[in-house]
């Protein structure tokens, strides 16, 4: 692990126009995240935690401020360059899985590789490796509707991991799962973190949030607390 943080946010603002009112979803956020860290973003609804996650994931752009990913200023990048960065460096896991219903588990996992233009003969072994690693090899040719919630989320994590990103962003990954499956999914994510991936989880659930090494609380678009895990 080197000294430069993988993610460096500086005086970040995100302002939405809602009717004739301006809403500060993020207000002067400055944050460094080290490579391999395990971070939870907590806070009430509308506190800006999802907005922060989307900006880190390059799905949204800050209104003001700087965002350096691996030391490179991303706010100046074009949409297409940002798409390339997302493809190469960032994996997403969502509360509602966002699997494409008409594609099988294997095809869903393959999708980022297809978009990245990886040739088929290289895609197949990579997808198989992911299926095996996440314990869903026997479900490879099932469609999402034939899978349980836990299995769906594992497919979604597989999809996020297939292009071997450095950062994994999870937005309420257990929000739509029963407790048992939720715990499995968290264990899986923490294992990935243990292997060096930077994990950022947005959650409502204090129990889940307190598992993270570093815990951030947001209120009204500001970071109000930033602590390490209580041991």
């Amino acid at each position: 692990m080197n000294d430069t943080p993988i993610i460096h946010l500086e005086h970040l603002d995100r302002v939405f126009q809602v009717g004739d009112q301006q809403v500060h979803a993020l207000n002067d956020v400055t944050l460094d995240i080290a490579q391999g860290d395990y971070l939870s973003l907590m806070g009430p609804s509308g506190s800006g935690k999802s907005t922060l996650l989307h900006i880190i994931g390059l799905l949204d752009r800050p209104s003001n401020g700087h965002y350096l990913l691996e030391g490179k200023e991303t706010t100046l990048y074009s949409d297409n360059e940002q798409a390339r960065l997302r493809r190469e460096h960032i994996g997403f896991v969502f509360q509602f899985f966002h699997l494409i219903p008409r594609l099988t588990a294997a095809q869903n996992i393959e999708l980022p590789l297809i978009l990245a233009g990886v040739p088929p003969e290289q895609r197949i072994p990579r997808v198989e490796r992911v299926l095996k690693a996440f314990g869903i090899a026997d479900r490879a040719h099932h469609r999402p509707e034939q899978l349980s919630g836990g299995q769906r989320q594992r497919v979604a994590i597989g999809r996020a991991m297939v292009s071997e990103p450095k950062v994994l962003l999870a937005d309420e990954p257990t929000g739509n799962l029963d407790r048992a499956s939720g715990r499995e999914v968290i264990t899986l994510l923490e294992e990935l973190n243990g292997r060096g991936i930077t994990l950022i989880i947005v959650t409502h659930d204090p129990e889940l949030g307190q598992r993270a090494r570093r815990q951030l609380h947001l209120v009204d678009g500001r970071i109000v607390s930033d602590r390490a895990r209580a041991v």
């Binding site: 989307h54 799905l59 008409r102 594609l103 297809i114």
Partner: protein, 401 residues
């Protein structure tokens, strides 16, 4: 992302919404099929008419009494009642070195009877030259003999249907029939199904022109058909015919000479225009199909908002999303177009089965342009939905589910 992957993704998307895809394919197929069928009909009608004119005879001039001015203008102050076209006029035309044959024609309607049976028939007064000039064919016997044109010989050649109705299977040759108040001997029967210029010769009775003049008590000819020696001589022959007749009619040009070529060209133009018109009507249904495709693609974009957000989250560029939806629209219209081609071809074939005389082959230009238009329709009407998909904000798209 290579082309094969894009195609596969679009095909999977189409298969994922199979009912919608099916309906779209039908709409496009109907559009293309209607263009194919309508142009086949138009083209068939054109070929039919052109074929009919060709069977009328080659290098033909048709002389009509009266001056047909189609250029308009005030009617002449002095009375210009046209002089009759007479048999002498007709024979005089043979003096032109460009003319091979002259067939004067006289037409009237009269009853024809044999035994207890009688019916009305079109009676045509003609000479022996009519047979070669109009390319008629005989089933039995022989045609009017070569003889003095004025002679009113009591012989006739009858159409196949007249023979069947009057003689009902009994031999007709050599029998005497009554036409009007005269008796004629049947010397020949025309081939069944013979047609020229839309007139069925099955119900025709041909008698010598001299006999017809007596029968209808008139010296006027209905037409003079003139066969010119070669195609190249047609303009010269036309001028000579006019000159000869003007001299015979005291210097007044009171006949109209039309060439078969001119008629043919006119009909060809009219029917080609007709084909284009019906093709245009067919194109309207293609347009409707295009708008349907746009509508369906817009619905697809709205329904798959989450998917589009996801594609962007896993690294798809706007351009990739655009191309995926565009390919989907083009595939829809192309597949629909091909189904339409098959349907249209089948429809044209079916029409041909019911109307065998109509050569309903879809013209090549119609087939190609229908397909091209189908693809272009997909591209044009797919562009707007695809652009909308490409521009969707990923965060908002993902929050919708």
């Amino acid at each position: 992302m290579n082309v094969k992957d894009r195609l596969r993704f679009a095909l999977q998307a189409l298969r994922g919404a199979s009912l919608r895809t099916f309906l779209m394919l039908i709409a496009m197929a109907i559009g293309v099929a209607s263009v194919i069928i309508l142009t086949s009909l138009g083209e068939g009608a054109r070929r039919y008419v052109v074929g009919e004119f060709a069977s009328l005879g080659t290098n033909l001039l048709i002389v009509l009494p009266g001056r047909n001015e189609t250029t308009g203008g005030a009617p002449p102050m002095l009375s210009e009642t046209p002089r009759d076209l007479t048999l002498d006029d007709a024979m005089a035309l043979l003096r032109s070195r460009h003319v091979r044959l002259v067939a004067p024609i006289n037409v009237g309607a009269s009853a024809i009877s044999y035994g207890g049976l009688d019916r009305d028939a079109v009676i045509m007064g003609a000479t022996a030259s009519l047979l070669p000039v109009r390319h008629m064919q005989l089933a039995q016997g022989h045609f009017l003999p070569e003889m003095d044109v004025e002679r009113a010989a009591p012989v006739c050649v009858i159409g196949a249907k007249i023979r069947d109705e009057l003689f009902a299977g009994k031999p007709a040759l050599g029998e005497w029939v009554r036409i009007g108040d005269r008796r004629f001997r049947v010397i020949g029967v025309l081939v069944a199904g013979g047609e020229s210029m839309g007139t069925n010769t099955d119900e025709l009775v041909v008698i010598p022109v001299g006999s017809a003049q007596q029968l209808f008590n008139t010296a006027t000819l209905f037409r003079i058909l003139v066969e010119v020696k070669t195609r190249e001589e047609i303009p010269a022959a036309q001028q000579e015919v006019i000159d000869i007749l003007r001299k015979r009619h005291d210097g007044e040009e009171d006949v109209t000479v039309i060439t078969q070529d001119a008629i043919l060209a006119t009909f060809d133009r009219i029917l080609t225009a007709l084909t284009y018109t019906v093709a245009g009507i067919g194109a309207i249904s293609l347009l409707v199909a295009g708008i349907l495709i746009m509508n369906v693609m817009l619905v697809a974009v709205a329904q798959r908002t989450g998917e589009i957000g996801l594609l962007k989250a896993v690294g798809a560029t706007g351009g990739q999303v655009l191309s995926l939806f565009l390919i989907e629209a083009i595939l829809l219209s192309l597949l629909g177009g091909m189904i339409g081609l098959v349907l249209g071809g089948f429809g044209a074939w079916l029409i041909h089965q019911f109307y065998p005389m109509l050569p309903t082959m879809p013209p090549v230009w119609a087939v190609l342009s229908a397909l091209l238009v189908a693809i272009a329709t997909g591209m044009i009407f797919g562009a707007l939905p695809a652009r909308r998909a490409a521009r969707l904000d990923p965060v908002q798209s993902l929050s919708r589910r």
